[in-house]
Symmetry: C2
Subunit: 233 residues, 2 copies
């Protein structure tokens, strides 16, 4: 019996990365998940990641804490207000952009993969809904793959080739949801909201909630998201 | 009067990165330092970084905490013994190799630079004493520069070009020390030891101490390092 190849999967606890984990499992990988808590406001997302890893049969799940607030520059980590009720930005860079985020996350995922002996990295980067993020583009992912092969003992010394998989790259939110439902994901376990309510529910009208809600509508799938009670001022 | 261009300088508190900061200052940059505490054993190095930043006129100094122990795989972050009294490794990868370390550190430095509007990144990578580390090689640094220009809003949207400076890359330890002394660095402020004694002094015989001691001898410069009292078993 041949052992399954190992994959290192970046898991945020959101809808996208849960779908990536299900795809990696369906592709036959033994999946080792890494969640990075980079000081984002929504710690509830980290709890969601643990639920998702367990539900989708991950072989291991590790949490790395990284306090990106010391660098700042983003509404997700600094004291900048998250926009509510606005049309999700389709051009330009959203204020929720975290400087060099995917570079940092992929670098950590690469270290995780090297320790595990995994050559396959999975990330939920998406070029459709997040067109404003430069680090969600195919050219960025190709450049990171080049870097990975030079950065590591596995790549530079032993000639192993890393592969960065971004299976959601060209999918709309509705297509992601339909794919995940076909793989049996219970999306009520996932959390996408940038600004959860005090009871841990989704706010329903930040960019992430709006994209997610519209995705379920467009996919023709009932939305299992638990929306919370709004804050009282 | 033209403002000095900003540089983002990775500062560990060791001899090499202190020299890099002095070089960047001498090159006319307004230097903003970033120290990453990645759970290494020698927290005394983080204190050294603060002393060095102040002494060498850094414009700012930020500390990012990143718990790499969750990933493991290195004697500097996991429960692996640091070798003492052995000949420093000249080939092969030392056990003190941290998986994807320079990729992670440069990714954080890139985020720091983007927030500051700095296009120049300085790192103390060295290909002479650390020949076993793939992420200290020119090809790695060139690949990271490519990545930086694709990863960021500054690079991908505004066409700014990042530059990764590794001014120590081809220097021996003795050459680094002579360069630093010529720039007026007080190396007693710096800390290199992988395994400091309980009183915060240098152990004198780990790989880092051995390379450092030999460097001062070869440079013909008195060694100002404070060596500590050895541990009693």
């Amino acid at each position: 019996m041949i052992a399954s190849p190992r994959a290192s999967v970046l898991l945020s606890g959101g809808l996208d990365s849960a779908t990536v984990l299900a795809i990696a499992r369906a592709d036959g990988f033994e999946c080792h998940c890494l969640t990075v808590d980079y000081g984002q406001r929504h710690r509830v997302e980290v709890d969601a990641a643990a639920r998702v890893a367990a539900a989708l049969g991950a072989a291991s799940h590790r949490l790395v804490r990284l306090d990106l607030r010391a660098i700042g520059g983003s509404a997700l980590t600094a004291g900048i207000e998250v926009p509510h009720g606005a049309e999700p930005s389709r051009s330009g860079v959203p204020v929720t952009y975290v400087p060099a985020r995917n570079t940092v996350l992929l670098a950590l995922l690469l270290g995780h993969a090297e320790v595990l002996g995994a050559a396959d990295l999975f990330i939920g980067a998406n070029a459709v809904d997040y067109s404003g993020y430069p680090d969600c583009r195919p050219a960025f992912l190709a450049a990171f793959t080049e870097l990975a092969n030079l950065a590591t003992v596995a790549g530079a010394e032993r000639g192993e080739r890393f592969r960065v998989h971004a299976p959601l790259l060209e999918l709309s939110k509705a297509e992601i949801i339909r794919r995940g439902v076909s793989l049996g994901i219970d999306y009520s376990l996932t959390h996408s909201c940038y600004d959860p309510t005090p009871d841990g529910g989704a706010c329903g009208d930040c960019d992430a909630c709006t994209l997610r809600r519209r995705g379920f509508v467009a996919a023709g799938v009932p939305d299992p998201t638990r929306y919370g009670q709004p804050k009282t001022e």
